[in-house]
Symmetry: D2
Subunit: 345 residues, 4 copies
């Protein structure tokens, strides 16, 4: 059994890591850290876990984490991992970081939307954890920068078509929608029940920090600069993320070309499901799973492709993909511990 | 007091008409018809109205409706109004029809997405009831084709900029989201609580019947053919509709140009509210009101404008705008009976 | 026009007061105070009100409030009104306080569940603002202690039957359920969307501070000590409160006796609606209204009466009843400004 | 591997059976029947299952079911199982029926609330499938009548205290609340999103068919006739059931007596979790699990015990308990395939 620690286990992504890893047949959860709940049993913070998870939250300490674990998940707000991750790497740990701190290879780009980066030397070797695309590099990575939820939902439907040269890369618009858990566990006005319920609204319009992340990955994949317009919206539901992408074809094409491209690119990818034409991706169908459902339609009247995806923002958009990456790093089948039967409702 | 009848009063749009008109200071509700609930008191169908609305649902009969009312609202599924409306017009009634039957001037366009039109002779004189745009013609109209909810949410932010020549009309994409009441009152799998709750999904992707309606109005306003890509989505909430539109500017422009254009176009329009830059339109802020909140942002990196609107699909998107049109037709202030104080939550 | 000030206008009850009073035909809102938003326009805190309410939040100052207003609503957390209310009364204001501070005549009872009372001298003259029951005293009151939401939902169905001697007063159990807005506007874990959504739970079981308030009023009405078991629950919805009460009849009785008792007690009460037997009270039917819907059933097998009520916790349970009390104090019809047409959905 | 068939697999309980059994390590799903979707792949009815469950819905046929399976779950509306179950029993199948048809030993009682019973001869040998209480008989049963969701939520907290003689059995009141999935998959007005959302209401007040079921089991357990008052309510959420029970102690007692009683009765029961005093059972904590969380409080002022439970109505309230019964019947650990890690949110 591989021993695993979660640093920052009581935020939503951390708790979802606990959920998945506690049921994972090949690992043992040995340590949970929390800044807010040191000394408190984890199931007092998340009573759903009573009688199932029997760990107590500890304070983060690099030495103790390294002694307890063979691989470490870090689920903290950006800026803190910059400090902690190097400590763990130096102690020989492999680390999967769910923050933005190690998603960028270009420190200047990171700094343009976050803050000064204090561990730039790791940016060249960290691997971007979009499992289906970077599995080869993830396998041997010491440090994985796990993707943002929005980038995951935007990149998975886009990358195969971009690489196949099917899209006019200057035409890309991504309109994304997220459930409220994306805003995190800390109480705030935006996540107040009475503010979110019966409310649908855009926010950070063309100004979200996940936008440069998408641009960087798309540019790398296409070997040329790509920039997309990205607008996130908030949906009155707990979990789920849906993205609709608008793109002009690079040249005359048939819908079957798109389907073929996806089928070929994702042939080996259990967690990518291509939806039939008459059933667009629905967040309800991927809730609590690591699936990314993808669909598309061709608007012939306007010569425009519509690509659609649906994920669970806390699973494929965060903890699930992180465990998928761990599986790859450990040489396990990537679906181990993740391929549960979805709920019908 | 003007006497008013509602034909089809027990669907959601019809019931919302009852709600508004029962509180309207200048009209008297004299007749409600229903196909399903003939002989039943309206407040047995909508118990919220108990003690407030004391009318009984009747069967539709052209003569009886004409005797009872000076102006008639028709809130029936398309195809039926084609048959009923001419009967009422011939009896001298003025009619506001909430279906699609009299929204198009071009019968062929209507027939391409609905079914054969059996009252084409009225299509040339019927007026499209987008109040802020067609008030001049609505004033004297005998027959108003009240706009669809999606077209209302798309056209109000687009038309001023289109008319001012600010947009590349080949670049238009509208990504819309609607609450479940838009699917109507008849029980169906799509509006089952357990199917809609915690679900967000696109539907009728680039294939919704409101798309040609938008195209037709935009083309008329621009005096040239315009076609837009339109994708509707379903949101787990009862009421509300939000649209985000993506457009490339026709030429170099400043954000202030957009603001100026809206301010000028909607200077006299109480129900259009321009949102401050940092607060995009939110369905919660317009719920139960006739407001259309409009906002915009300029994505300078990609030279793309983002326009946003929020309405209550049952009010400005249906019953409220219909009453606004009635006010205009009757020479009243367009806000009469509609300008209630919004709910804080 | 009577000039009205709201002290504490930016909490949920305060904002709902703004909503109702801004649309009230006989009063003018002249001053809003807020602790958190001094100097900010009210419609920046509640953007739904943009273009409708044009007031700026001010700091509380007894002199300024007294100059601005003829009657003052106080919508602050308990303990603060103890300090402010005497200041206003001394300046000749009539005050309607929505906190618990002036709901009790017995200071010791108040102190047993809140904290030391520093304005006990006002407890003997303050009037409990349960409009339908205490209208006679409210009319001339200088100070009204507006009832809690739970007590309103429990007392209105109970009092007529208690006064008629129909119930075994030792048998009373009230099981109440409230929407999340009852927890107030301040962000907290309990009102986090992801904690409240898809969650139903009891809280403060037989230990809620509204319980002694109910007991005191029931005892006064019955002229003997009455104590009831009260358990509140949290419902995943924004507004609404439903209470189901279980009671053993005092003696053999027929269901018609209950109906007769209600009809007689509430004959003149517009805001009390008796539901037909086969349609129990539903929060959806009273949402956004000042109605209290009441229903009942007799469980003959167990000789037990089931009484049910539904209110909007922010309207009849707070701001609406406060305005109803103001109407009574001003000699207006109690429904003025409150009798809007309910929403069908 | 035991071969399992589900008759009526496309209703909500049936689909949840598919979900659990598809992930069960000791059984193989061999046949799904459906009346509405014969010939359709199951994952077209429940797209969440795409790529995971690869079975096609078939028509029911006693012979084919018996050939395909070693044990059969029946998830059909009552009245149909009366006809089907005997056919299967005669062919040597063991059957777990989720309808009411085989829950009663007294045909007259069944007939008083359902309809004439046509397979009365099986009522004496069928075993009531409340797993924690009847495990001994379930082990060898040929036919299990799986409990209703409400009875499960009422009986589990009540039975230990009743058997211990702690309660005045004439004082029992159960106030239950259910999510909308309890109303089933067939679209109906009551489960329309816009009717259920933002609505909380009682229904079938003291007249629900689960009431006699509770009474019968309690009476059997107590060896004397017991009748309780039962009122169900509908909550705006998909899954979950919470019950609050009010009871007078039979004699003077301490809260510790109740805790001791539960601990002793449920010492070996993994799926019963006793909640700490300050955290009442919450449906969110048991969602998607087979747990029944139980809590209690003593209202000393009124000498009344308050018992509380929370279950997932589709799991412990239906499909989960049915699988738990299957495990017991097959001699497996009762938690096999059911003891998944709960979701933190």
């Amino acid at each position: 059994m591989t021993r695993v620690a979660i640093v920052g286990a009581t935020g939503y992504a951390g708790a979802e890591l606990v959920r998945i890893l506690a049921g994972h047949p090949r690992v043992q959860l040995t340590m949970l850290t929390s800044r807010q709940f040191v000394g408190k049993k984890f199931d007092r913070v998340y009573p759903a876990m009573s009688g199932v998870v029997d760990l107590t939250c500890e304070a983060y300490d690099a030495d103790r984490v390294s002694q307890a674990a063979d691989i470490v998940f870090m689920a903290l707000p950006h800026r803190i991992p910059m400090e902690f991750v190097p400590q763990l790497l130096k102690r020989g740990q492999r680390v999967i970081d769910l923050s933005a701190d190690f998603r960028f290879h270009d420190a200047a780009l990171y700094e343009s939307v976050y803050q000064p980066h204090t561990a730039k030397e790791y940016l060249t070797t960290s691997v971007y954890g979009l499992s289906e695309i970077y599995a080869g590099q993830i396998r041997t990575a010491e440090l994985v920068g796990n993707p943002g939820c929005y980038p995951t939902s935007v990149l998975l439907p886009l990358i195969p078509l971009i690489k196949a040269g099917l899209l006019d890369t200057g035409s890309l618009v991504a309109d994304s929608k997220s459930g409220v858990s994306g805003a995190g566990r800390s109480p705030a006005m935006a996540s107040h029940y009475c503010a979110a319920n019966e409310s649908f609204k855009p926010y950070k319009v063309a100004a979200h920090r996940h936008n440069p992340e998408m641009n960087a990955v798309l540019s790398q994949q296409a070997n040329k600069p790509i920039s997309i317009t990205f607008v996130p919206h908030l949906v009155p539901m707990t979990r789920g993320m849906q993205t609709t992408i608008y793109a002009t074809p690079a040249h005359s094409m048939k819908p079957a070309d798109v389907a073929d491209c996806y089928r070929s690119a994702y042939a080996q990818c259990t967690f990518i499901r291509l939806c039939p034409e008459n059933r667009p991706p629905d967040t309800l169908h991927v809730r609590h799973t690591n699936f990314c459902d993808i669909g598309f339609a061709f608007d012939a009247s306007n010569n425009r492709l519509v690509l659609m995806s649906a994920i669970d923002n806390l699973v494929k958009g965060a903890a699930g993909q992180a465990v998928q990456n761990m599986n790859i790093m450990l040489g396990l089948n990537e679906t181990t511990g993740l391929h549960t039967v979805p709920f019908p409702l």
